[in-house]
Symmetry: none
Subunit: 245 residues, 2 copies
DNA sequence: TTAATTTAACAGCCATTTTTGTTAAAAGTG
DNA sequence: CACTTTTAACAAAAATGGCTGTTAAATTAA
């Protein structure tokens, strides 16, 4: 439904109810949820896409999707983690996919600011879970801000896994300042830095540079990425790993 | 069922199955659970109450229960919080009861290390939620340790609400060192300190002193507490509030 | 004021999880 | 060895939580 609204720019409640075959009440409820996430704004009779966030919500979609790619990437990343060691995960769905594979690597220490990953790992015995606190952001379901950066700076892990929303020839990018600050802090806190991105992120840019690609010890991409982009990335960097699907 | 066993001192499996109208298998399963909790001991054909632990299990039980008391206390505590201000909550079920009332006080900033409270408040719009990170403890479902203490020390709130497992004439107590450290840090971080305890905690002690009762700006107890203990507390401290049930 | 829209409360439905009972095999007791 | 008790595995039943639609009341715009 959000996709529909973002494409159209706006929509009326009754129109949405009809085109999705649900009641007006349900539309209202779902819109309230989307509004809470900051994705749309409700006005009397309908909704408008939160203009400034068209990008972001587009990305939010991308994050939801590509689950097969992310899972393939996650498997490769998990293979790079030593049982008994420590990993830091950022608040990306790719990192979440990695978290799903961590149970097999126990005992393991996991550090993250992503509430969804915390929920997942809180149930695992033999996983020592350290949460990075900070201000809760509903849009990302994670903890950010100064508090989080401070918390990151108080720890160090063997491996750090981050994902960014865009990757060019030279840099990894993200559009939100707040998140960039946390990711950068995370990269400083890890001995080995892994960038995990699916093919849809390649050859794109976003507002803020997170870090040069050469700062990463490994860049993991799925094999379903466009082969020309993959090749280009491999030509320029010696640290690229391709996850077979 | 546990109550029945504790009263009788012991019981047979078939007897329990009949008197509760369930199958023998179900009795076995429930007894296994009680045994895991250290409340009873299984012997061939039946169970015996774990004498040394009757007290302790009673207390564990009481912590789960007393929801009505905790809710009454929570209502009073919530009334002491100004909308627009900030509150810190510890990882107690009493604090969780307070959290349930905070939605009405929005806008509000809430700081906590209790995952259950975080889950609850993450859904509330108009609540600015700040999580205190740290090492996750499944036994308390909260974040503790050095990381948490550091995080607490980086913030200050208008009000701090803590609950402890025991309260004597002079002090508030808790049996776990790790938790004591966090609670003490929290008390240092708040302008107004509220101790919220239900009547079952009165006139008891535990291993570690958390703080003298006079350090608190308010002590909130439910009216169902034994009246002699209540009176004694009020005689010695001018900051006692009784929550009517 | 009127009509449309939004909200709140309730009840039903679906999927998931938890609890329960049955059965059969295993273990323990005398 | 014969008998009782306990355990494991599976299927049925019950409970739970999430989502939906209906209705009626509240709110808002014209």
């Amino acid at each position: 439904m959000a996709e529909h609204i973002v494409r159209q720019g706006s929509a009326s409640v009754t129109e949405l109810a009809e085109s999705f075959g649900v009641s007006v009440m349900t539309v209202h409820r779902d819109l309230d949820e989307l509004e809470r996430q900051g994705m749309v704004r409700k006005v009397r009779g309908g909704v408008t896409a939160q203009a400034s966030n068209v990008w972001e919500s587009n990305i939010a979609y991308r994050l939801q999707a590509h689950t097969a790619e992310k899972d393939a990437i996650a498997r490769v990343v998990a293979g790079m983690i030593e049982p008994g060691g420590s990993v830091m995960l950022d608040d990306s769905t790719t990192a979440l996919a990695v978290a799903r594979h961590l149970g097999d690597l126990a005992p393991l220490t996991v550090v993250t600011n992503f509430l969804e990953a915390i929920r997942l790992l809180a149930g695992s015995p033999d996983i020592r879970l350290i949460a990075l606190g900070g201000e809760y952001r509903a849009t990302h379901d994670s903890f950010l801000g100064l508090g989080c950066v401070d918390a990151v700076e108080a720890v160090s892990t063997d491996v750090v896994v981050v994902s960014t929303s865009a990757v060019s020839d030279q840099y990894a990018f993200h559009q939100e300042q707040e998140i960039v600050l946390v990711k950068r802090a995370m990269l400083r806190a890890g001995a080995r830095r892994i960038l995990a991105v699916d093919g849809s992120k390649l050859a794109r840019v976003a507002l803020h540079r997170v870090a040069p690609l050469d700062d990463f010890d490994a860049i993991v991409v799925d094999s379903a990425a466009p082969s020309d982009l993959l090749q280009r990335l491999r030509d320029r960097h010696g640290n690229v790993q391709v996850a077979e699907m």
